[in-house]
Structures are given as C-alpha cells and as structure tokens.
C-alpha cells in the first residue's frame, strides 16, 4: 500500500505532501474495496441465498432483474440507498449511527488475512487465526450498540441475546480451531494450509476422529456466531419483530446484512482453511498450467472458492431446514455439548499426536470411507424423497 502511495505521489500528485496522498490513497482503496469487492460480493451471496431458499420452497426466487435475476442485489442496493434514513426520537443517536459500521468493520477486517491462494493474501499474519476470531468479535459490540441505541425494547432484547450468544460461542470456536492449530503447529493461516495437502487424506478433516468431530463443532459454533438460523435469536422475526435491526432503515440496515453475508463467506473460509486444505491444488494439475503462472493462482482461487461455496450452500440449506432454537437451549447446547466435546477433541488430538506423530493412514481411510458412505446414503435418500412425492402443482385442474 505504501509503495503504491509513493508511486502515486511521485507520478501524479507531486505537489501534495506525502501524508495527504497516503490518506487519499487509503480512502480511495477503502472506497474501491467497498464498492468493487464487498458490495457485489455480499450481493451475490444474497442472490444465491434467495435462490436456494426459493428452490427449497418450490418457488423460483428473484428472476426479473438482469439475467436470471443476477442483478437483483443492485436493484436492492440502490433502493436501500434512496430510502429515508429514519432515526427514532428516543434513539441514542451517536450509538445508533455508529453501530452498523462497527458490525460491518468487524466482519470485513477479517478479509485481510484470508488466503485466497498461495500468494494472494493481503497480510499473512503469524497470528492469523487469532486475528480472525478477534475481529469477528468486534461485531458483538456493534450489535449491542444497535440494540441499546435504538431505544426500542425489542431491539434491546435482540442486542442482549446477541451479546450472550456470540461471547458464549467464542469458546467452542476457539477449542475446535485449536485442534487444527495443534496439528499444524502454527497460527498463520498460510502455514496451516501448507501443512495440509490437496488430497482428502491429507486434510485435517480426516486426520483423526477428533478433528473430524472438531470440524462439526466449529461449523455449528461459527453458524451460531454469525447469528444465522437456527441460531438467529437476535433477529428472531416472530419473537422480537426483527431484533437489533428493528429500527434501522435504508443503508444502515443494509450494512447489517452486508455483515451477515460476509460472515457467511468468512465462515466457509475459516473451515476450508483449517480443515479442508484451503487453496491446495493437486501437483499434477498445477504443473500442467505452470506452477508459477497466474493461471495456477487462479486455479488455487477456484479450488478455495469451490470448497467455500459448498459450505455456504450447507449453511444456507440449514437455515431453510430447521426451526430456531430457544435462548436457554442455545446456551445449553454451547455449555453442555459443544464446550465439553471441544475440550475432549483438543485433548484427543494432543494424545493422538503423542501416540502417532505421523498419523494413521488406516484411520484416515476409514473416516473417508465413512463420510463417503454417508454422502452416498444422503443422496440416495434425496433421490427417494424426490421420487416419493409428486409435488407438481397443476394450475386449475378443471380447465
């Protein structure tokens, strides 16, 4: 970034002091990132989610704006921009105004450390995973602020719920992530990925039974942390109207949703990085396009994205499959199930590493076989359900 600023300074804006140019470049970059990366990206995810939800419910979903409704998010974004920005009279104005940006900030600073390919990463921090969890926790401040600042009772309940929820679920998240960290021996995301391999038996997911379980714990905990259904209690629409964002409108409202969809992506990225081998591409494939070429990087990016989108799909499907849990049940689930099992997994991995420093390939293949069998059985069930019920609606059968 600094080099870029110096470059700009030297070539175009020689008359200005360097610090001002730096500032301009920083704002410019933020603007470009926001408009060119975040908005289309969150928008695209929103489109995907809406289409998946629609198809699950035998509907079509948005299909009018652009080809197959792909540009629907632009229309929604523009609409939100033009909406009246309402601030309730009783609201705590500064808090009310800052809150959405804080939530947004918390989610998008995580993108800094996400490894999109072996070289495409903004900053390969040596405490990457810690940084990820730390920034994700900033959102809770924003949510509580939004809840309190709105001056509405429903919002306050929502804010309180989200605080309790996110803080609790930090613990199982950390514990489950610890299993991968133990195996890799590093907190840096690039190193964790490098420690795994492109093939499933090299992934930490299938490394041993404990990481296998830890993956699911991390999955559940991250879903809960992102306030996604079935853990969307802070915005439970049938109970709290809309929770912490009840009083928001227009662009501020949209920022909450940016954050939600961004979290969806970050969730996939974390899981992929820690357990599914990240951007790893098989050597042979890499060699065929030239290991150092830009094509290889793109290939890595594609692999990374594919894994993420499979996980995103599962999270979206989860949302449209199960009912919401209750507050006490959610706490029960965290403290009675996820945390103890998380500890068990960490201890298990540690012992496993002591006993079998090189891993046990038999166990790996067994786990892979088990997972494949489950997936096959799953698709068999899907097929049978599909066959079983004839869901076609005939438009007025009497004509």
């Amino acid at each position: 970034m600094e080099n870029f600023a110096i470059h700009i300074h030297e070539s175009y804006l020689y008359g200005l002091p360097l610090s001002v140019v730096n500032l301009i470049v920083m704002f410019g970059a933020a603007f470009v990132v926001l408009l060119g990366f975040v908005a289309p990206f969150a928008g695209l995810l929103s489109f995907i989610e809406r289409r998946i939800a629609a198809r699950i419910q035998c509907r079509i979903g948005p299909n009018r704006v652009g080809p197959q409704g792909l540009l629907q998010f632009l229309a929604d974004g523009v609409k939100s921009l033009f909406k009246e920005d309402l601030i309730p009279k009783v609201a705590d104005k500064p808090l009310f105004i800052i809150a959405p940006y804080l939530v947004f900030l918390g989610m998008f600073t995580s993108f800094v450390v996400l490894p999109f390919s072996s070289q495409w990463i903004v900053a390969d921090l040596n405490v990457g995973i810690l940084y990820l969890f730390a920034t994700a926790a900033i959102t809770v401040v924003g949510l509580v602020m939004a809840g309190w600042g709105s001056g509405s009772k429903w919002s306050m309940l929502g804010g309180m719920r989200s605080a309790a929820q996110i803080i609790s679920y930090e613990i199982p998240t950390g514990l489950a992530a610890l299993t991968a960290i133990l195996l890799a021996g590093s907190l840096s995301l690039q190193e964790i990925i490098a420690a795994q391999g492109p093939h499933p038996w090299q992934w930490y997911f299938f490394d041993n039974p404990f990481t296998f379980i830890a993956f699911f714990i991390l999955f559940v905990a991250l879903v809960a942390e992102g306030n996604r259904a079935p853990f969307d209690l802070p915005e439970a629409e049938t109970e709290l109207v809309s929770g912490y964002n009840t009083e928001y409108s227009g662009m501020r409202f949209l920022f909450f949703f940016f954050a939600e969809w961004a979290h969806l992506y970050v969730l996939g990225a974390i899981l992929t990085t820690l357990f599914l081998g990240g951007w790893q591409v098989p050597e042979s494939l890499l060699a065929s396009v030239g290991a150092e070429s830009i094509a290889a990087r793109i290939l890595e990016l594609v692999f990374f994205q594919l894994k993420i989108y499979v996980l995103v799909f599962l999270v979206v499907q989860l949302r449209w499959t199960v009912p919401r849990v209750r507050m006490d049940q959610m706490m029960d689930m965290c403290w009675k199930y996820l945390v103890p099992i998380g500890f068990f997994c960490v201890a298990g991995v540690a012992i496993w590493m002591m006993l079998f420093p090189d891993g046990v390939s038999f166990v790996k293949y067994l786990l892979i076989a088990f997972s494949s069998a489950m997936v096959l059985y799953y698709f068999y069930k899907v097929y049978r359900n599909f066959k079983d019920s004839r869901a076609e609606l005939e438009l007025n059968p009497f004509v």
């Binding site: 709290l240 199960v322 079983d388 019920s389």
Partner: protein, 371 residues
C-alpha cells in the same frame, strides 16, 4: 441476588409477526422470562352478530364466511344447520354429502395452514411455504366447486348452492393420492425434527381439567386428552355413516396437552379427513343438491343452539327467532375466543419464545375471536 432488575412492559401486537392478525398481548417480562401476558382482543370486531339481526336468514350466510375465514365451509354448515332446525327442513342426502366433502376439504386447508404457521413461528420458513403449496391445490378444488378460494358461501339453507362440477371426484382423489406422501414428508421435516420437539414438547401444557373448565374445543381439547369429537359423539349430517378415529393427545414427546400434542393431533386429523373424504366420494348418492325451501323464510318463534365441529372445534350458533324474516338474535360461539382466554393463565412464567409457540399451537384466528 443483589442485582436489582426491573420489570419491562412489552406491547406485543396489534401488529406483530407472530399474532397472525391483529391481537395484542400486554407482556410483562423480566428479560427473557415473562411474568404475565394479557391478551387484548377486539381489533377485528365487526359486529357480525348485530348484522345477523338485520339480514335475512339467507343473507347472513356470506357473513359466516367472514366469521372464520380459514374454515368458512364449516362455519356455513353450522349456520345452515341451525336455521334448518328452526325451520324444520329436511335436506337431500346428496347435499349432506356435499357439505361434508366441502367441510373436510376445508378442515385440511385450515389445519395445514395452522401446521405451517406453527413451524413458521418457531422459525422454520420452509414448512410454511410447502404447506401453502398444498393448500393451493385444495383452494383450486374449492374454487371449482363453489367459485371462491376463501369465502366460499357454498352452503345454502336447505342444501348447497351448486352440485359438483364434472370430474371433481377424480381430481379430488388424485389430489388426495398426492397429498398423503406430502404429509409423510411434512412429518419427517417438522415434528420429527429434534429442535422442533425441544421447542414444543412440554411447552404451554393445558391439563384436562383446565381444558374443560376454560371450554377449549376441537383439536386443542383433544390434545389435552379429552376423547371428544362432536362429529362422533353428538353426530350430525352423514357422519354416522362414516368410519373415522378421533385422535387424542398422548404426550408422546412430553406431557399430555403440550404444544407438540396439539400439533400432532392436527396432523392426525388431516389423515382422518383424507379417509373421510375417500369414504364420502365412494358413498355419495345421486339426487338433488338443494331441497324444497320456502320462498320466504320465516321460522316459528323459538330458539336453538347448534354445535358443529369446525376446524377450530366446536362452533356454536345460538339463534333466536321471533317469527319475522330476520333473526332476533344470532350468537356465534367460537373456539378461538375461549382459546384466547386461557392464554393469560397458562403463560405465566413462560419464556418469550415459548409464548409465540403457545399462541401458534392454539391456532387462533383473529376474526374468529372478535367476530
């Protein structure tokens, strides 16, 4: 302990996503746990009973649709029965069968919507949409039968307004054949889900004694373990000729009379309705669909109270005639009204999320409460 907490008053409704219409609950809560939820109704009061005193007997029929718009057919049937009893009319058997067919189709519509709404209030949107999808098919059948999708006004005093359109039986049977696998799928998706069970089992338990004392009716009463169905025990129309079971709540996941039981009882009732419909289609005789009715309806002086099993249970029509063309007094006693009155008692000490479950599981319809 040491920390002072303050009770918070929440106004849930009249516009709230989980009230399904305009009902208001004044909720006093301490954080997530409520101390009290007092229902406040009347936002949809349209004086249907007063209108009944102004309209002629036939002219009141469309208003009974509006009294309970989710099971208009059952409401129609009850009103027709009370007037017929006062007039001393005999109605043709085919008309009786047509009424029962319409009423049972309507029961399916009403129950499937209620099931979807429970799932929706608990947070699962998909079952609701899937339920509506099935409801749409029945709506199509109803539209072909009587020309409307919601407010049917199909039943007339002395019979029904139309005969079945050609091909109605085949279409209905085809729908029922498709509907049964859907119900299995629905059961797999919702009541067998662990989260759903956790959310409903043991929530909003209404004991047998309370259910009778508060005069709960229909599925809510049966879920509390009272084996009582007007169609079987105070039989009317052609129900004595039909074979069906009356599902009763057994507390399979929690306690008898909890929200889960109410949900399951409705699912079982839908299955019974399917079997009833099949029997009706097999038995329906040829004949008139509208009997001989007097040109001007002037029942003798007297009064009558007729109860029928509507989707939301025992719907009572109390009619007083003074011998003129209009009724002297019409009173509609509905299931939702008494269901609402029990909420204040049961909801003490519940969690906020459970109140939503509880209200949804009672299947109250706002216009039916207020009339």
């Amino acid at each position: 302990m040491g920390i002072q907490t303050e009770e918070m008053m929440l106004n849930m409704g009249p516009q709230h996503p989980s009230t399904h219409g305009v009902i208001r609950f004044v909720v006093k809560s301490d954080g997530e746990v409520m101390t009290e939820a007092v229902p406040d109704v009347g936002y949809l009061h349209r004086s249907i009973e007063k209108i009944g005193e102004i309209c002629e007997y036939n002219g009141f029929m469309p208003y009974t649709d509006r009294a309970d718009y989710l099971s208009a057919m059952n409401a129609n049937q009850g009103y027709a029965m009370v007037v017929e009893k006062l007039l001393g009319l005999e109605i043709p058997e085919r008309a009786e069968y047509l009424r029962v067919i319409a009423a049972e189709l309507n029961r399916i519509i009403s129950h499937i919507l209620s099931l979807g709404a429970v799932a929706m209030d608990i947070g699962a949107a998909t079952p609701f949409v899937l339920a509506l999808k099935e409801r749409e098919k029945v709506n199509d059948l109803m539209e072909a039968l009587c020309g409307q999708r919601l407010t049917y006004s199909y039943v007339r005093i002395g019979g029904v307004s139309y005969d079945m359109p050609p091909g109605f039986i085949e279409r209905s049977l085809k729908f029922l054949a498709d509907f049964e696998p859907f119900m299995d799928e629905f059961e797999n998706l919702v009541p067998e889900n662990k989260i759903f069970i956790e959310r409903t089992a043991g929530v909003g338990v209404i004991t047998r004694e309370d259910a009778i004392a508060y005069n709960l009716v229909g599925p809510n009463l049966r879920a509390s373990g009272v084996d009582w169905d007007l169609r079987r025990d105070m039989t009317y129309s052609v129900y004595p000729k039909l074979q069906f079971e009356v599902p009763v709540g057994v507390g399979s996941q929690g306690v008898v009379g909890d929200s889960f039981d109410r949900f399951i009882v409705r699912i079982k009732e839908i299955k019974q309705s399917i079997s009833l419909l099949k029997q009706c289609f097999a038995q329906i005789p040829e004949g008139d669909f509208l009997g001989e009715i007097p040109r001007v309806m002037k029942p003798a002086v007297g009064e009558c109270y007729v109860r029928t099993e509507s989707s939301r249970g025992d719907m009572g029509y109390y009619l007083i005639s003074d011998g003129s063309k209009n009724a002297f007094r019409v009173r509609i006693r509905t299931g939702s009204f008494t269901s609402m009155s029990i909420i204040e008692k049961i909801s003490r000490g519940m969690m906020l999320a459970d109140l939503v479950t509880f209200i949804a599981s009672l299947d109250v319809v706002a216009p039916e409460i207020d009339r």
